[in-house]
């Protein structure tokens, strides 16, 4: 394997700042990014990536091939939680297995955005429609996770036995679907994509100065993510060994499936194949844990967030991206 690829990725500014954030927690520094600023960075990154994707779509157009790719994206996001659930069920109760499985079925937008920065540094092109793929992959896992919980939940539950609180415990599908498909991230991403598509060259020309600071904002955001990831990692106490193993092996397994699909079924170029692979290998640490906490209150976010933010996210941005890129060329 080309070790230079991993080294150059680790030595890129965004990843180094991620390490700096982690270091800040380990040495008990008071370094902190204000909460509102951190939220602004994430909104900026989603808006920028969505707008850019829409602009690319404006130039390259839509085809049946793109529809097929987006369908596979949607299917992968629905299938990953299924097999993840049965593996997790060996160690966790139904609620936590469903919540962690949903986390793995969904995606991490920042991992996707870091991959775009990796591709742009290597001057590798990618299709704007992959942004639509990302938006499509955010939500199905929530629905699958809730269905899995409902199907497998323990019928012996004391509250059920007593016949109390049934209405409280029944899933509120309207709220779940609304959270899944209209949460802020998905709405902004899809909205920016459509606006980029509608405004075309004129819109992009006006937006370009805003896009020029993309890498700087990403770097700042990863510094903040490093701080938060290190804090969450410290809270990973129960089942830490299993979750660390699962948090590394499951993304690798998902990535291998994605690479085979990208190379042998979809015929994607190397840029799109890498983005598709990273989407399937990443795990959500914002939208899905919150949605699953509401839909399945018995699940414990002390499992979902540390594994997705403290293990899967660092693994993907440090080792995963260059490793998947290498595997795309040999498989």
């Amino acid at each position: 394997m080309d070790i230079n690829l991993i080294i150059s990725n680790i030595l890129s500014a965004p990843v180094l700042f991620f390490f700096l954030g982690m270091l800040a927690v380990w040495v008990k520094s008071d370094l902190e990014i204000p909460n509102a600023l951190s939220k602004f960075f994430s909104l900026y990154l989603l808006l920028d990536i969505g707008f850019h994707g829409g602009y690319e779509l404006y130039h390259n157009g839509f085809s049946w091939n793109i529809v097929a790719i987006l369908t596979v994206c949607f299917l992968m996001a629905s299938i990953i939680p299924l097999y993840s659930f049965f593996i997790l069920k060996r160690k966790f109760d139904t609620a936590n297995a469903a919540a962690i499985a949903a986390t793995f079925g969904s995606i991490s937008a920042v991992t996707f955005i870091t991959t775009i920065a990796f591709l742009e540094s290597a001057k590798i092109t990618y299709g704007g429609y992959m942004v639509a793929g990302m938006a499509l992959m955010e939500s199905p896992a929530i629905i699958v996770g809730v269905i899995l919980f409902q199907l497998f939940k323990n019928k012996e539950n004391n509250l059920d036995k007593a016949g109390k609180n049934q209405s409280y415990r029944r899933p509120k599908w309207g709220k779940i679907l609304n959270d899944a498909f209209f949460n802020g991230s998905v709405l902004l991403l899809v909205g920016a994509l459509l606006i980029g598509l509608i405004t075309g060259d004129t819109g992009w020309k006006a937006f370009k100065p805003f896009d020029a600071i993309f890498k700087g904002i990403l770097t700042f955001y990863l510094l903040d993510n490093g701080i938060v990831a290190a804090r969450r990692l410290k809270s990973l106490k129960n089942s830490a060994g299993f979750l660390i193993g699962f948090g590394i092996l499951m993304p690798l397994f998902n990535a291998l499936i994605a690479i085979v699909l990208a190379n042998h079924l979809l015929g994607l170029g190397e840029g799109d194949a890498l983005l598709f692979t990273v989407l399937t290998a990443s795990a959500s640490y914002i939208a899905v844990p919150a949605a699953m906490r509401l839909a399945v209150p018995e699940s414990n976010p002390a499992f979902t967030v540390p594994v997705s933010l403290g293990i899967v996210f660092p693994f993907n941005i440090i080792v995963g991206i260059p490793l998947y890129f290498y595997l795309i060329h040999i498989l």
């Binding site: 902190e32 909460n35 951190s38 994430s42 509250l159 609180n165 409280y168 709220k175 993510n225 701080i227 938060v228 804090r231 969450r232 809270s235 640490y285 914002i286 844990p289 919150a290 906490r293 509401l294 209150p297 018995e298 976010p301 002390a302 979902t304 967030v305 933010l309």
Partner: protein, 104 residues
Amino acid sequence: MNFEPRKKVEIIVEAVKLDTLIYQLEEIGVPGFTVVGNISGKGANGVLDHNCKAKVFENTYLFTVCTEAQAQQVLEYVEEILQYFSGACFVSDVAALVPQKATP
């Protein structure tokens, strides 16, 4: 000055549950409530850190001043929530100032 006896219900609850709590308060018909978001602290469920990106580790403080009957309904609902979500609830007797309406 004119005071009326009221119940003050103070609720600390996970931020993800705030929307449904507010919906329920409006259904009960409390005259109003105040929300303080993004709070940190430590309770039986460990440290809650408002700086984590995931909303699941964020707490919210809400208080409402209402009649005894309304407070009873609020407490019943909050008791139900706190079976699954971390948080706390306190109730106290307060005197609410009823301002004299200005005459034109």
